[in-house]
């Protein structure tokens, strides 16, 4: 099996050919959005933690800029940021793609920045418009797997069929990332027994134990079971986790991708399944998987969660036949046929694998057709980490 993508200067392969207009912080986001509207195929993104947001946010923005789905980048700064556009541009440029940056204060205000931004983005658009798709083997593809709004069908149908597709992808040389440590609480053993070596096993236990520590602060009234989970029949986080971990399939876990302690780790050349030390919150998890190099994310829901992402196409699967019948317009894959007894997990898994190849080769996901361009960035507050005495994974 092969897919048709866009080769980038660093040898990675994009499944989309986007121009990313990135506001360094949300102060300049409206300007970035206005500039992005001037050409087709441009998306505007930003982050909302201020202009000295810390390494995790900076590394996520850099990683997203370097993501192979992005053909070229225009950074927009205010000018006075602690994290200047120029510094991010320099890091993103390491991927070899065209990267430009401008700052509102340097150019003499909003109007002048809009004019200059439009000029730059139109020039970038002419260049990247000439890029062509070529065929590549599956080892150039990394897929993120995520679930949300889970119900009982997620553990019985949606996640197992995605896991089957992940096994097919990994057997064909590709990689997969799962990014939600809280949804591994109670399912440690089923992940740890697949660790490729004792070091990875230790990292898996540490990642999950650290996440549990963050959530069980006495008196903090934190909750990780949503109403839809409970109405959908899931009783505890343990039950939710044991269903959730099916989606990474059955192949060995090669490592835990680090997101703190100096750098955001990309999917290594050694292909296979990886966990990522990040978050279960969907749009944030997608951004951080994109930063690690994922070109596509598959999302399983029971209640019918519907959104997308600015940079990675988002394949939506539901295992709930009733939700599919009500929300078919929003779903790429119906895995509810497993619950009704019409289809096996293997059969749906094969359909998902084919969908991955089709979407990688240019087929639009429903989220893209609907215009979903969600983007948000996850930050683990380093002050809380210090207070909880949690050290980054090494």
């Amino acid at each position: 099996m092969k897919f048709a993508g866009y080769e980038r200067p660093d040898g990675s392969v994009g499944v989309r050919n986007l121009i990313l207009v990135m506001a360094v912080a949300d102060c300049s986001e409206p300007v970035a959005r206005a500039i992005a509207r001037k050409v087709d195929g441009a998306v505007a993104v930003t982050q909302h933690y201020g202009c000295i947001p810390g390494e995790m946010v900076a590394n996520t923005l850099i990683g997203v800029g370097q993501n192979p789905n992005v053909a070229a980048v225009l950074l927009i700064g205010m000018g006075c940021e602690g994290m200047p556009a120029q510094a991010l541009a320099k890091m993103i440029q390491q991927s070899g793609k065209p990267v430009e940056w401008i700052a509102i204060q340097d150019l003499g205000g909003t109007r002048k920045t809009m004019i200059e931004g439009e000029k730059i983005i139109k020039s970038l658009s002419r260049d990247v418009g000439n890029y062509q798709r070529n065929e590549f083997s599956m080892d150039k593809l990394t897929v993120g797997v995520k679930c949300g709004g889970s119900d009982t069908t997620s553990g019985l149908a949606g996640n197992p069929s995605v896991g089957f597709a992940v096994d097919m992808l990994v057997d064909a040389g590709g990689s997969a990332i799962m990014s939600e440590p809280i949804e591994a609480v109670g399912a440690e053993e089923s992940l740890a027994r697949k660790a490729v070596n004792p070091e990875v096993k230790e990292q898996i236990y540490k990642m999950i134990a650290d996440e549990e520590k963050r959530w069980k602060i006495p008196g903090a009234q934190m909750e990780f079971m949503c109403r839809g989970n409970v109405e959908g029949g899931l009783t505890t986080i343990e039950e939710k986790s044991l269903g959730a971990v099916h989606k990474i399939g059955s192949r060995p876990i090669m490592g835990v991708l680090k997101t703190a302690g100096g750098h955001l780790e990309k999917v290594p050349d050694k292909k296979g399944c990886y966990l990522q030390d990040s978050t279960h919150m969907e749009p944030m998890a997608m951004s951080i998987m994109a930063a690690a190099g994922a070109q596509i994310v598959i999302f399983v829901s029971g209640c019918g969660g519907t959104f997308g992402h600015a940079v990675v196409p988002f394949i939506k699967v539901t295992g709930n036949p009733e939700i599919y019948s009500r929300m078919a317009d929003d779903m790429d894959i119906n895995a509810g046929t497993i619950i009704t007894g019409e289809e096996s997990v293997d059969s749906v898994g094969k359909r998902i694998y084919q969908e991955i190849i089709d979407v990688a080769s240019g087929k639009q996901t429903i989220g893209e057709i609907m215009g979903y361009d969600n983007f948000s960035v996850f930050r683990r507050d380093p002050r809380m980490e210090a207070l909880l005495n949690i050290s980054p994974l090494t």
Binding site: T152, G186, E189, F224, T236, E238, E239, N320
Partner: protein, 95 residues
């Protein structure tokens, strides 16, 4: 036919694949075997019922793994959910 699934032979709960009414018969699949239960509550699709009597304090087993603990006795065929099961993980009040 009202259907349910028991995922692992060690499980003490089954997940319903149909809405059921009190005293209805449910066919629960465990691998190749089909088992019959009479449910004691009206229970909706996706929710669980006990496939054997569960004592207060006993572990709840699904996927062959512990998913929580019974907070009261749960009779065979009775709805098993947040009203009679508690999580043991990620709780600030337990540690």
């Amino acid at each position: 036919m009202k259907r349910a699934i028991i995922i692992n032979k060690n499980d003490n709960v089954a997940s319903l694949l149909s809405d059921v009414r009190k005293n209805e018969t449910v066919h629960a699949q465990l691998g190749e075997t089909m088992l019959e239960y009479i449910v004691k509550d009206s229970i909706q699709f996706g929710h669980k019922f006990a496939v054997k009597p569960i004592k207060k304090g006993e572990n709840i087993i699904k996927y062959g793994e512990i998913i929580g603990r019974a907070t009261s006795d749960i009779g065979e065929g009775c709805h098993a959910h947040v009203h009679n099961i508690e999580s043991l993980r990620g709780r600030g009040d337990l540690f």
